[in-house]
């Protein structure tokens, strides 16, 4: 388009606007630039998930079977992350060790989310005495340091994957309950909800059609941020011996068992420790990206 052919300013403006409309490639590049860390986090997290799922095909070694003559071998082409005190391949154990951590993290967040949504919706929608009772109960739960509460629950229920999930989920419920309540309180004052009430729509329908869809974006952001916390808690509980039963591999447990070898065979606690750090970091980056994308106040910054 030549400038000479464009005589008036209106034409010029229209032409300029057309020329600046981003192509798909440019839009993807812009998205990639804007969400670079989230993308990296997503790729890494996906690799971790795939690695733990396909561990039996990715490594020829058994994560549990002991091989005493092969103990404490340093990282090499045969054993990428070396071997532990019982001669087990450390890389294989790191692959398998993600299973309980991710299972616990994801399951506990989902469970906490479900229960927290129920409590938060009931409290925010009904208000009054029910709101007071439920929120005071949440306050009591929040008054305990979360990890301490989780330890207390595991100590009472006993160790194991299910109990760890329950413990972490229980300790995370107030986070979701409070968030959902605040969203619901805002939403029930909206005119479209008042209108729905006026035409006789049932409470369940209002919640399902008008409130629930509007609470999804902030909940997704919160759930992702909480997943990182849940993974940290799961690792911490395993580190304290309150997670999965040995000899099953688990990152927290592997760090715990390897800590006394930190000066003699640092590769034993280092790799599972690194796996925890990078996984938590990647989930945090995903959460940040989702927040930037889903929060209208941050989207165009």
């Amino acid at each position: 388009m030549s400038v000479a052919k464009l005589k008036d300013s209106n034409h010029l403006v229209t032409a300029t606007s057309l020329s600046k409309r981003p192509t798909l490639g440019r839009r993807l590049t812009a998205l990639r630039q804007k969400y670079e860390l989230a993308l990296l986090g997503g790729i890494f997290f996906a690799l971790v998930v795939l690695g733990t799922i396909f561990a039996p095909w990715l490594s020829p070694y058994d994560p549990i079977k002991q091989d005493i003559p092969s103990r404490l071998l340093t990282p090499s082409a045969i054993h990428w992350f070396g071997t532990d005190e019982s001669g087990r391949d450390n890389f294989t154990r790191v692959l398998y060790g993600g299973r309980p951590i991710l299972t616990t993290g994801i399951s506990s967040v989902l469970l906490a989310l479900l229960i927290g949504m129920g409590i938060g919706t009931a409290a925010g929608y009904r208000g009054g005495l029910l709101d007071d009772l439920l929120m005071r109960a949440m306050d009591i739960m929040l008054s305990f340091p979360t990890i301490l509460l989780a330890i207390l629950i595991v100590a009472s229920l006993g160790t194991g994957l299910i109990n760890t999930i329950l413990a972490i989920a229980f300790s995370l419920i107030p986070t979701f309950a409070r968030l959902v309540r605040s969203i619901v309180i805002t939403l029930v004052r909206e005119q479209y909800v008042t209108a729905a009430h006026a035409v006789g729509t049932s409470d369940w329908q209002i919640i399902a059609k008008h409130i629930f869809p509007n609470m999804i974006p902030p909940i997704i952001v919160q759930a992702t941020a909480t997943l990182a916390i849940a993974i940290s808690y799961s690792s911490a509980l395993s580190f304290l011996g309150l997670g999965v039963e040995p000899p099953r591999p688990d990152w927290g447990l592997m760090v715990s068992q390897g800590q006394r070898l930190i000066f003699d065979a640092i590769y034993i606690p280092f790799f599972p420790g690194l796996a925890i750090t990078l996984t938590v970091l990647s989930v945090n980056y995903i959460g940040d990206g989702l927040r930037d994308h889903l929060d209208p106040t941050l989207r165009n910054r």
Partner: protein, 566 residues
């Protein structure tokens, strides 16, 4: 004299494989210098006493590495520091180590450093034992002062050795039990005069002189007992080589040299005993130079620290038993074939290699290889035999896999040991659930007889075979809960009680050895305990720390009176 001592020390280094290049050079130079001096110097007049400790050497003389020197601070990494110093209760190894250095006993371990050598005189200057072996008459040492300035006399001894069972004593609290070591068989204790204590026993006890230096038999100042009453548990005042300067329950105890110690001031000025329940933190403290004495190091670090120029590693005899307890109160460990299958399934070589890093020996039974009454016959039974293990699993008549849980403390090397045991047991038809517990919960569960297979250790605090096998005596918590034989196997328990009583009462060594052989055979026959290893506990210390009696330290009894820093 000194050159002979240096030579002996040199040979000890070689024997204990602790000779670093620096020590070799130092000792060789020391020996050469001594030899040269000995050749040139005139012979010392007969009967002349050696120079007093800490005395300035004669002009021109070379200060040998072996010449004790006063001064220095020993920072001691204990595995824990308890909340109380009460000697009648178990407060962890750290506190018992404090008691051994703050306290003094009627007798003490032999100064040869060999833990099983005869007991020596300490607060008792001498003693006589009646012909029937039941009456001990102790002559109390004169001029001994407590840390609070009070004088030691026979009444103070009697007070200390009865306060844990005397409800009228101002310092008495319910639940004290460690005294059983020296009160169980005691009929009476009296002080006919200020310098004499007479102890009468119900039956002879070949180990009684040893029992009197159990930490629970510490002699405490009567003045302090009156002043502090029950709070003696935080204000322990005795008459040992060091006195307590500061006690921070659960964290740290600071000791300082006691100038008026009856045998002369100890060499070291100050000892800081700090608790490191976490092995990683302990290692970091050693690496950072924050501690210079670590008698509870992780075995994994020993080889590397052995090669260090700044540190040295000492290891004495294998005095600690590591074992599995089969609780016969519960299924399936009440099944004889199950217990035998467990025994044959375990590969002890792997335990010693992978868990103890070579610091152990194949076990025979409860009496260790350097202890009186050792019977090597059990070593054959301790060898792994998968065919026999599977055979006993089949004979047990239980459906496979036979399920049970292995209860253990979630600290030190126990978790790794548990994994290894589980792996071996599952290879022959068991399905083992690992049941890791903190220390308090472990003992609660095991002593209540609620475990199936448990895992523990037994040290030789009283250097007599009775100290270990007495676990099976029916009145003992171990026989009640750990193995449960007192309730579940009354006939066996009765037979064991008779043999244990006969063993400890027999004063003829040959006959006594035969009884302990029978006891060990009886253990191997029914297998309430399955031995895992004899553990050689190492001690890591700075290269400039000298003359630690390694015998006691090999069984967690650490006496620092004669230790010095060069």
């Amino acid at each position: 004299m000194t050159d002979a001592k240096t030579l002996e020390k040199y040979l000890n280094y070689v024997r204990e494989a602790t000779l670093s290049r620096r020590n070799f050079m130092r000792n060789t130079a020391g020996l050469a210098t001594m030899a040269a001096l000995a050749a040139c110097a005139p012979a010392a007049p007969a009967g002349q006493a050696p120079a007093a400790a800490g005395a300035t050497p004669a002009a021109g003389a070379t200060v040998a590495a072996g010449a004790p020197k006063t001064g220095g601070t020993l920072v001691f990494a204990a595995e824990s520091i308890g909340e109380s110093l009460e000697p009648g209760l178990w407060n962890g190894f750290g506190i018992s180590n404090v008691i051994d250095n703050v306290g003094a006993y009627l007798t003490r371990p032999n100064s040869s450093g060999q833990w099983t050598d005869p007991a020596e005189a300490s607060l008792a200057e001498s003693w006589t034992i009646s012909e029937d072996g039941k009456t001990y008459t102790f002559k109390i040492r004169k001029g001994v002062k407590f840390h609070d300035g009070a004088d030691l006399d026979a009444d103070a001894i009697v007070r200390s050795l009865t306060r844990q069972v005397n409800k009228d004593d101002a310092s008495f609290v319910d639940g004290l039990y460690m005294h059983v070591n020296y009160t169980f068989n005691r009929k009476s204790i009296t002080a006919p005069d200020k310098e004499t204590v007479v102890i009468e026993l119900e039956r002879p006890d070949a180990a009684y002189l040893y029992r009197l230096f159990h930490p629970s038999a510490i002699i405490i100042s009567p003045k302090a007992l009156d002043e502090y009453k029950k709070e003696i548990n935080t204000n322990l005042i005795s008459c040992g080589p060091f006195k307590i300067d500061k006690f921070t329950p659960g964290a740290e105890v600071t000791l300082v040299a006691f100038d008026d110690f009856w045998e002369g001031r100890p060499y070291i000025d100050k000892i800081v005993v700090r608790g490191y329940p976490d092995e990683g933190a302990m290692l970091a403290a050693i690496e950072a130079g924050e501690v210079n004495f670590a008698p509870y190091p992780p075995a994994s670090a020993v080889q590397r620290l052995k090669e260090s120029q700044e540190m040295k590693v000492m290891a004495g005899p294998p005095l600690i038993n590591l074992f599995l307890g089969c609780c016969t109160l519960n299924e399936p460990t009440n099944n004889h074939d199950v217990r035998l299958a467990i025994n044959y399934a375990i590969n002890r070589d792997n335990v010693i290699k992978a868990v103890l890093y070579g610091l152990g020996e194949l076990p025979a039974s409860f009496v260790g290889p350097t202890e009186f009454g050792f019977d090597p016959a059990g070593r054959d039974i301790s060898k792994q035999d998968i065919a026999k293990a599977k055979d006993h699993v089949a004979k047990s008549g239980l459906p496979t896999p036979i399920k049970f849980s292995l209860t253990y403390e979630n600290n030190r090397f126990w978790p790794q040991m548990a994994e290894l045991v589980k792996s071996d047991l599952e290879a022959v038809g068991f399905a083992v659930t690992l049941d890791a517990q903190d220390s308090g919960s472990y003992w609660g569960k095991v002593n209540d007889g609620k475990s199936q297979l448990n895992m523990n250790q037994r040290s030789l605090w009283v250097p007599d075979p009775d100290n270990k096998v007495t676990l099976l005596e029916s009145h003992n918590a171990s026989a009640q809960g750990e193995t449960g034989i007192a309730k579940a196997m009354p006939e066996y328990s009765k037979k064991m009680d008779e043999l244990l009583a006969a063993g400890v009462s027999e004063l003829d060594k040959t006959k006594r050895a035969e009884i302990y052989k029978q006891i060990q055979e009886l253990i191997l026959e029914e297998m309430p305990y399955v031995m895992l290893a004899y553990y050689t506990k190492p001690v890591i210390m700075a290269a400039n720390i000298n003359d630690l009696p390694i015998g006691g330290a090999s069984t967690e009894r650490i006496f620092l009176q004669k230790v010095w820093m060069s």
